[in-house]
């Protein structure tokens, strides 16, 4: 699965990150590289710091907020 290590880092660090609920965290491997007010800022800094290496941008939510699509589409996850 893509970003497996980064997602594990997110879940491990979530208790400490919830002080920034609603902001966007940037994670590379097991490193939390920053917390930003917008996803755009996190993406920009992610590419500046890690170039074309994989990194995760995720909104910090103690209870994860799902997306809803009422049209018939199948969500896709890279194996």
């Amino acid at each position: 699965m893509a970003l497996e290590e980064e997602l594990a880092t997110y879940h491990a660090k979530l208790p400490a990150l919830t002080a920034d609920e609603g902001k966007f965290v940037l994670i590379h491997g097991d490193e939390v590289a920053g917390v930003f007010t917008s996803s755009e800022d996190a993406i920009k800094i992610g590419y500046e710091k890690f170039k074309l290496e994989p990194f995760l941008v995720k909104q910090i939510r103690a209870v994860e907020r799902a997306q809803f699509i009422t049209r018939f589409v199948e969500p896709r996850l890279v194996p």
Binding site: Q67, T70, R71, F72, R76
Partner: protein, 144 residues
């Protein structure tokens, strides 16, 4: 407005941030791809067919749980990608709509294409716009 509803032509490209990273790495960024996208107030986020994302050589940048009619009562994890969105103005003199670094999710292969579209413009984009749907005249306006 055609029989498929409020559909716009939109160009999907790599995000501005990725464009800069590719250029710095000496790579030529892939050109934007023209798609037909349905304006969908029932989508909380925008959604793009994976063949478009693959043609742009994108890899996931996030993951989010997603409910659709196909997922039933449990959300399914769905990859997120960073793209740029460019919707040309109605005329050459009209300012285009642009989001240079937008997070979208990927729909599974073949779920959008049979519907005659390659993407959904969701409320994450519409929150920056004024959408007027006039069913009586069969027209819509997307203002920004």
């Amino acid at each position: 407005m055609g029989p498929d509803g409020p559909v716009v032509n939109a160009y999907i490209g790599v995000s501005l941030a990725r464009f800069a990273a590719l250029t710095d790495d000496g790579q030529e960024p892939p050109p934007p791809i023209l798609i037909h996208a349905l304006i969908d107030t029932g989508a909380s986020c925008s959604c793009i067919e994976p063949s478009i994302l693959e043609a742009l050589h994108l890899t996931p940048i996030g993951q989010v749980p997603t409910y659709t009619p196909s997922t039933g009562s449990l959300p399914h994890p769905c990859d997120q990608y960073d793209i740029s969105l460019f919707i040309p103005g109605a005329t050459a003199a009209t300012t285009p709509f642009q989001r240079p670094n937008l997070l979208v999710i990927a729909a599974n292969k073949d779920s959008l294409h049979p519907q005659g579209i390659q993407g959904l413009i969701g409320r994450d984009v519409l929150e920056h716009c004024l959408l007027q749907y006039n069913g009586a005249t069969g027209s819509f306006t997307l203002a920004y």
